[in-house]
């Protein structure tokens, strides 16, 4: 049971904005629908950094608004419709659950640009966007491989996004430390601090050196700090692990939001299916901990530039699954279809898929 606060008040407050036809010199109104509170240091927080970047970039030319804690369903549809009927020119839905409500509203407002993160329903005025998080996962995996010998992963659900991350970290670690192994614990939740902590403790009790997580809370970082081990976090959580927090993968939505808003301002916006990572600055990694030596930083930074330039792909061949089957042949690049439906562990991950 996740309590969802009444966001009715916020949505009603938006209704106070003056309605009326937008004149050419009026600022572009941009609306954001968030699935949780901004302060969560996780997913929504990083989207809001993108929103702030928009304001900084365009100043008076844009006006942004957001509604927090909108999980999906009727709530989401109402908020999106509210934005649309108040002359918002660009509306972002930031959670997978916003997909269907947004698609329904988008069909009724063909002149408004809609953007949905992490979904798959596209329309002439509904673009979709997502990040290649696995590129950053590969890099934090390298850090883990250079600083330890085994990784313990607190994982949520065995979906392709998470499996790509586990595999990318393992590949990154083994590229610099061939005997490196990864252990995975599935807790069947995106958010349960107590259970995340229990899982992290269990992995540490079993002797792993470095932790990683796909869950939202900083509980795993705290566990590593308490037990004097390392962690590569999801989002910059350095304040929870002064010594343990080696680095983190960081989503960076700002550049994408700026680019899309500029297109709307220029009148060149059109629907798109964006799946970009480091090369588009949509993914990066958090500042290194002081304990990470210079040669490690140099190696990881160099790999980051190779990924940026396209000279290296984390899943380039030869890619061998845990059971020995070859998924990508030597010298070849994986196609996005395979990545999007990934359903296997690579060599180096222990245990079998649930």
């Amino acid at each position: 049971m996740t309590p969802r606060r009444t966001s009715i008040f916020l949505a009603a407050a938006l209704g106070l904005g003056l309605a009326g036809p937008a004149a050419a010199d009026d600022p572009l109104k941009i609306g954001f629908v968030y699935s949780s509170l901004i302060g969560d240091a996780g997913w929504t927080f990083q989207h809001d950094l993108g929103r702030l970047m928009l304001e900084e970039e365009f100043g008076d030319r844009v006006e942004t608004a957001y509604v927090e804690s909108i999980d999906g369903g009727a709530d989401a549809e109402r908020v999106i419709r509210q934005f649309a009927s108040q002359d918002f020119g660009l509306i972002f839905g930031t959670s997978f659950n916003h997909m269907n409500p947004m698609a329904r509203v988008a069909a009724q407002f063909p002149d408004i640009a809609f953007e949905h993160a992490t979904g798959y329903t596209q329309d002439t005025n509904l673009a979709i966007y997502h990040t290649r998080a696995y590129e950053s996962r590969y890099l934090v995996g390298m850090v883990a491989g250079l600083m330890g010998d085994s990784l313990g992963v607190v994982a949520s659900y065995p979906i392709p996004e998470v499996l790509r991350g586990i595999n990318a970290m393992t590949l990154g670690a083994r590229s610099v430390n061939p005997d490196f192994t990864t252990r995975v614990v599935w807790i069947s939740s995106w958010f349960d601090p107590g259970l995340e902590r229990t899982a992290a403790d269990a992995l540490l009790d079993q002797g792993v050196d470095v932790l990683a997580h796909f869950t939202d809370s900083p509980a795993v970082v705290q566990a590593a700090e308490d037990r004097e081990k390392y962690v590569v976090a999801l989002g910059d959580m350095a304040q929870y692990g002064e010594n343990a927090h080696l680095t983190a993968l960081v989503y960076n939505w700002g550049p994408y939001y700026v680019e899309r808003a500029r297109m709307v301002l220029d009148g060149t916006w059109e629907t798109a299916n964006t799946w970009e990572g480091i090369s588009a600055d949509m993914m990066t990694i958090a500042p290194y901990n002081d304990s990470v030596p210079q040669d490690v930083r140099d190696a990881v930074d160099a790999k980051m530039e190779e990924i940026r330039s396209g000279a290296f792909h984390p899943f380039q061949g030869p890619l061998v699954a845990q059971d020995g089957t070859e998924k990508v042949a030597d010298g070849e690049l994986p196609d996005d279809g395979m990545l999007l439906s990934m359903d296997f562990y690579v060599e180096g991950v222990e245990g079998s898929l649930p």
Binding site: P3, R5, T6, F191, D201, A202, S217, G351
Partner: protein, 309 residues
């Protein structure tokens, strides 16, 4: 594959997992013994968690943090008390409302405390016990609240069965009309029981935000309040069984995680369901009148009290 050090680690983890459940369920047990079902445990835990964290972070004094968490939980539970005892609102609806309100209120009030880090309450070393061979190390890795929760269970058990106060409480829960006729104030007794339940739920929440994961995030109880409610039924309203149930629950959830890490083919979903399955079984059993008495369910549980005279 599982050596003694790992066994101890599993037990320690299980005890820690069980402690917030024991606290919250013990409070709910007393409430139900007095004849009320308060489904607001989750909300009260959240209120206790956020206030406990705020006090723990600002003062560094965890005794104070738990006290304030308990007070906040108790104060918050009085909303339920007033609704149910004064306005005769349906108990289940009032409890659900408390859960929803607690989630919202704690998230709203907790915005300031989100994203703050704290060094949590540290384990204590028990004299004598920690020198035992093999299992001794366990008594260096548990915190004082774990022991206090167990002590509270024993004390509540004794009060319920061996004292006049306990007898009055049970009388109110078994048959409020008779208790009323005997001159006891049903409303006052129930108010006290509800506040007690709120205080213990608040401490359960504070355990999460001050010990287990020393941080505040909205919704951080993640359903533990509901597990506590289920545990009371699972324990058939007996404090000792409640502790066993909480330990079993903790052990099962920790074991399935360790099993995964060790690569054992544990049917983890089945194990995770086990406590709920048993709860459903108990519920089915107590719906049959003959066994109901044997299983201890308070006679007036969930029934509104309207004084006749």
């Amino acid at each position: 594959m599982i050596d003694s050090a790992l066994m101890i680690a599993i037990l320690v983890s299980a005890m820690r997992t069980a402690t917030p459940l024991i606290l919250a369920a013990l409070g709910e047990l007393v409430v139900e013994k007095a004849g009320c079902v308060n489904l607001g445990v989750e909300g009260m835990m959240l209120v206790g968690a956020v206030t406990g964290f705020a006090v723990g972070l600002t003062t560094g004094n965890f005794a104070l943090a738990f006290m304030v968490g308990a007070l906040a939980g108790a104060g918050f539970s009085l909303i339920y008390g007033v609704l149910v005892l004064v306005f005769q609102v349906n108990q289940y609806a009032a409890g659900l409302a408390l859960t929803i309100l607690g989630g919202g209120a704690s998230a709203f009030w907790g915005q300031t405390w989100q994203g703050r880090n704290m060094r949590g309450l540290q384990p204590v070393e028990l004299p004598v016990l920690s020198e035992l061979p093999v299992i001794g190390v366990m008594f260096t890795r548990l915190d004082v609240v774990v022991y206090m929760a167990l002590a509270a269970t024993v004390i509540v058990g004794l009060i319920l069965t061996r004292t006049r106060v306990g007898l009055i409480l049970r009388a109110v829960g078994e048959n409020h009309d008779s208790a009323h006729a005997l001159g006891f104030s049903v409303v006052k007794v129930r108010f006290a029981a509800i506040a007690f339940g709120g205080a213990f739920a608040g401490m359960g929440g504070a355990y999460l935000s001050c010990v287990m994961t020393p941080l505040w995030i909205e919704g951080m109880t993640a359903g533990r309040g509901w597990i506590a409610v289920a545990l009371v039924v699972f324990a058939t309203w007996k404090p000792a069984r409640l502790v066993l149930g909480a330990w079993l629950f903790g052990l099962v959830s920790v074991m399935q995680i360790h099993g995964q890490g060790l690569g054992l083919a544990v049917p983890s979903h089945v194990l995770a369901m086990l406590p709920y399955l048993v709860t459903i079984l108990v519920l089915v059993l107590i719906s049959r009148d003959a066994t109901r008495i044997r299983l201890n369910a308070p006679g007036c549980l969930g029934k509104p009290f309207r004084p006749t005279a």
